[in-house]
Symmetry: C2
Subunit: 455 residues, 2 copies
């Protein structure tokens, strides 16, 4: 655990935990030493709030004790340490989702002993108070940020402790290996060959660590999603394909709160991968006075896209402009060439093209399959096997892998057991960082600053 | 109470009660017959949810019983009828504020016996189940929509029952008057002069109803706010005044979630009145190719503004263009003419102008005072006296007033007691509509459709 520092404060903190805006309900979250008593000082209900049991919901009014002004009618949920999210005394207030009332309530609490919580400070406290390890803490944030159902599912598994469990088992097995080595250090006169160390077990571990590490790319893709640019000459059918994909695939965002600001961007999910789809056709058809601006924006989208789908008008075949584009991007590893209008094309479909009719939808499934293969290669994710999504976890895992590879190489070279032990301890230390058994203040600050305030 | 209709259903309903978006916490609200048992069917926690006491918070997981898939980790708050907001059995779920997880949770509940709640349906049920009267129901929505602290305070008083109380007292006093008249109807041989009816009391009532009715305009202004257009010739100091007002007055919105989309609109509060302030200078200085577009937008803002502040460059005095504008709007009842740069102006300040230096801030207080007087006249609102904000309440109050005025006139003309009784009963009926003692299905539908979903 970390030393006593500013990070281990237990002072009462407060934050709005729901999005700002008019709504039925808003939740204001508080936690810290003396928190229940402090809320009780600005709360009028049936009986004293400070005498209520943990996990009870209490109806009452918030008021300013200085001038008796009523602030809002609320429900106050009391949690007593250690039976709360943070492990501290905590109170959650169910308020009216009224910006004017919330502003007033937060001011009231700032004036009565609470300070505004930092981003992720509630979860940080949960970690510091031993309620969760770091992989679960990260999973909390990953669930919130999940952009597809698959990403939600993977993060939920991590929250349930899948990464913590696997890392702890790695550690336990490494400690076994280490103790075998330490026996040899204590009896240096024994033959190098007759020892307690199992190379086979080390190699099994290496394979498993490599497998877990390899899930990172897939984890990122499912969590963060990718962007795809639909490109091609005028009349190649970009907009038709765009509309087809939006219609066929479950649109994640646009049907719910309309983030699709214009007609050139859409959010869909293909086999659980969140995808932002850009129709570059839309860009040039805007009424921007300068056509150059449209071209600049198209180039920007193409350059930052994870995948570029290039459509050929199959009824006309490949023209010079098409060839120039395909040559430019063919070695980028991001290009999918699609032979559109294959239903009315009489030309022979060139190799390396995926046949599609964006009008009828024939071939769409092949295009999507190609997208997934381009992103994930052959690997597919079982929903039950743990997948890492955190860059931090990936870095420590790579560090552990590196140390274990050095251990293996060292063993082959018959280096001294003392030195092998150093490498294994480094791997153990790296695993300890992943769960947070070993950690630093700086790391925690960086990690939790990525959270929502109120979490 | 209303008859049994579709409106009096008790089937289980569900809605997201917090704004859609990524956040620490989201609340899903459910209510209706069998609601606790239905949630218990998709919830795994410590012990059976269906056996939990009211007002308890229970940690567990939501899962799909068909394929055992985990959906989210949540806290489930159980409320048992009649001790809930709606008066029915209810469960509130504290979920991760994850759009992907919320979507999945809502789908799960739709598949397990819940239907999406209509706007305001929870509050409608609270009314139908006798938990609150209609004035309190409206106050719930008014708190959420409050755009300033004053509006929040006024709505909170209504939620505490201030309007219900005053209307009930009106009714009680009218019933007294009516019983006096009914005595006379039973003994028609008595002299008209010797009766039990108090004209004085009727007149007191009339005054009080008129006073309450007059609060409507102020109620609207505090609740909905007004818009002010800052106008004047180039270099008259519009932008300086705009920035001064934004800086001096507590900005309601812009410091919290930046709804100020460009530099020409700001939200402030002047003496508790929410104000949207438009700097028309910004409109013409945009890089729009067609100047005519800028002029069109300025005209639109001026035409829809509740108040037009026209600035004169006092260092130059009034010019022809100024005169033309002032003449155009002087009889609109919306114009405030301001003599700006009064600190460097050597000219005599024309009458009917408010002297101001938008640079130093001298005179700003007078401008604000003039704004409030223009909006509210001489009337000021005591925060403890009830203020009506609902058009519905205003209309029934006007109807009651009308019936009471007819009663007074009829009495003077010595019309028969039977006819007086008819008028008084009409007033009673109108009061009954305000609190919801008398109501119709159509009215309820219209009223609650203005609510948030989830409230």
């Amino acid at each position: 655990m970390v030393k006593e520092t500013a990070l281990t404060l237990h002072d009462p903190i407060v934050a709005l935990a729901t999005p700002w805006g008019e709504s039925a309900i808003a939740v204001i979250r508080t936690s810290g030493e003396g928190c229940i008593k402090k809320i009780a000082g600005v709360f009028k209900g049936t009986g004293k709030l400070s005498a209520k049991n943990s996990h009870t919901v209490n109806y009452g009014s918030l008021y300013n004790p200085e001038n008796s002004e009523l602030i809002d009618e609320v429900l106050a949920v009391v949690y007593r340490a250690p039976h709360s999210y943070t492990g501290e005394d905590a109170v959650e207030l169910f308020c009216h989702g009224s910006p004017a009332a919330l502003k007033k309530t937060l001011s009231l609490l700032y004036c009565h002993g609470f300070r505004q919580a930092n981003a992720g400070e509630f979860t940080l406290r949960a970690f510091l108070n031993g309620k969760i390890d770091l992989t679960k803490a990260e999973a909390v944030n990953e669930i919130i940020r999940a952009k597809s159902d698959k990403a939600r599912k993977l993060a939920l598994h991590r929250l349930a402790g899948s990464i913590e469990k696997i890392i702890n088992s790695f550690k336990a097995r490494l400690v076994d290996l280490l103790s075998g080595i330490e026996v040899m250090i204590d009896y240096p006169d024994e033959q190098y060959e007759h020892h307690e160390f199992s190379l086979q077990e080390l190699r099994r571990l290496l394979t498993e660590v490599r497998t877990l590490l390899a899930t990172y790319k897939a984890g990122r893709i499912y969590q963060e999603g990718v962007s795809i640019a639909l490109t091609g000459r005028t009349n190649s059918g970009k907009s038709t394909l765009f509309n087809l994909m939006l219609k066929e695939e479950r649109s994640i965002v646009s049907d719910l709160h309309g983030t699709t600001r214009d007609f050139i961007e859409g959010a869909i999910a293909v086999q659980g991968i969140p995808i932002r789809l850009y129709d570059t056709a839309g860009l040039r058809s805007t009424d921007h006075p300068v056509e150059a601006e449209g071209i600049r924006r198209t180039d920007k989208i193409i350059n930052s896209a994870d995948i570029i789908i290039y459509l050929i008008d199959g009824s006309r075949g490949i023209c010079k402009e098409d060839e120039a584009f395909l040559n430019q991007y063919k070695s980028s590893g991001r290009l999918l060439a699609v032979w559109n209008k294959c239903d009315i094309s009489r030309k022979k479909i060139a190799e390396a093209f995926i046949p599609l009719s964006s009008l009828t939808g024939v071939g769409l499934h092949q295009v999507e399959k190609a997208i997934v293969i381009l992103l994930l290669g052959g690997s597919s994710l079982e929903s039950d096997s743990p997948v890492i999504d955190s860059l931090r976890q990936k870095q420590y895992l790579a560090q552990a892998l590196d140390a274990l590879e050095r251990t293996e190489a060292g063993y082959k070279k018959k280096i001294s057991f003392d030195l092998l032990a150093v490498d294994i301890k480094e791997a153990l230390d790296a695993f300890g960082h992943i769960t947070g058994q070993v950690t630093t203040e700086g790391l925690l600050q960086t990690m939790f600053s990525k959270f929502c305030v109120g979490k």
